[in-house]
Symmetry: C2
Subunit: 271 residues, 2 copies
Amino acid sequence: MKLALFQFAPAFGEPAANLARIASAVRAHDAALWVLPELATTGYAFADREECTALAEPVPGRSTDALLTLCRERSTRIVVGLAERHGGRLYNSAAYLAPDGVVAVYRKVHLFDRERLVFDPGPDPFRVHPLDAHRLGLMICFDWIFPEAARSLALQGADLLAHPANLVLPFGQAAMVTRSIENAVFCATANRVGTERRAGVELTFTGGSQVTDPQGHVLARGPAGEEAVLVVEVDLARARDKAITSRNDRFGDRRPECYAVGDAESLGPRR
Amino acid sequence: MKLALFQFAPAFGEPAANLARIASAVRAHDAALWVLPELATTGYAFADREECTALAEPVPGRSTDALLTLCRERSTRIVVGLAERHGGRLYNSAAYLAPDGVVAVYRKVHLFDRERLVFDPGPDPFRVHPLDAHRLGLMICFDWIFPEAARSLALQGADLLAHPANLVLPFGQAAMVTRSIENAVFCATANRVGTERRAGVELTFTGGSQVTDPQGHVLARGPAGEEAVLVVEVDLARARDKAITSRNDRFGDRRPECYAVGDAESLGPRR
């Protein structure tokens, strides 16, 4: 299947303009699945919860309705990062949209830095979702540093991890190569570019969006400081094969009984 | 403290010659801890269990006695990979040796490829061991691909992961950078060089031994195809700080309740 990533610089607080940019990109390239950056409709650096509340939207809502229309028009699917308002809660979310509606919403579990002042942490476990005969896992940006995020998704059968991002630290892309290798999955990190100067903080986003395969090969990588569309053909069935030698299987060789940890810590619940 | 790695090409089946090589290196450089490659006293590519049984030794045993003498002579500690015979079992082990004796033996949990025909899998959980006021974790070579190995050790308080290796695949060193960043620990991969042609198989070991710090910086890296000693000063106290921003802590931010996995799988037991 054809997978596309749109690496761009969303304009802060301008969802209509950002949706128009997204629509242009999606109309210019054929793909079965698009992955867009984190907070792609609003920009990133909310000053506080009040500002975020004003810009956040329910899902489904106006922005996802526009993107669902685009999915139908283009017979495609879209994973988009957006600020979600859900009752009195605010989530840094990724919506997975298809022609027939919202397939899933993932609410970011590991909030980064000042996001903690603005968003509520996602309350739900990592879950996988159907993508034709395959399974899609959703994670957002800083989730990269927690190996349990990708691992949870892969152990549930994710073939592709869609990873909207607004990376500012230098190590995320390299770590996602490791996430691909250790789990034998495809990873698609759609990272934004540009600089935001807001609330006394200047953030420059690192670009370098990438698609990696189950052997850790980088199939496509965006530039560091410019907008770009990456389109890459991926055979997701390859992620079903967890072998790394004829005698080693990344999942079958796991030894949970040896992963003892301290009294207070856990590598995750048994169920 | 000064940490030293000896990247060399052990001669297959020649423990006395290999121990002499090790002694020369250890005598030529001051260090508080040495990390040596996997199976450093015997070489790697055992044809079968019988051949391994003939070359494997108990711990303590002749080879570790010689290395313990060297520890006392040089007031140092040594982590060495070796083939361990323990009753009727054969383990691909790492012994952690100090002037006052054997501190610990780690028996490789995740056996690679033909090792499965020769060794028994290590039966014990990953455990940490004292290193002055710090804690040392032991893992061997292919353990790199299982994020749970380094994670288990780090969650138990390991400040440094000593990682004897005989790497043949290209991704281990890059993954160990990720292990350092995700856990905020130092990692010392002592990898061998050279080629072994045995039992109809030719293996070339990749060298590139490295020491990485809790921020993922490579403090020292050996050449790809030559022998080398790496000596690097490390401040292990830095591994106590798990912060990555003023609002993020790699361990405190973990969300085990969100790391749900499938019915049959686990990210490790709760205790």
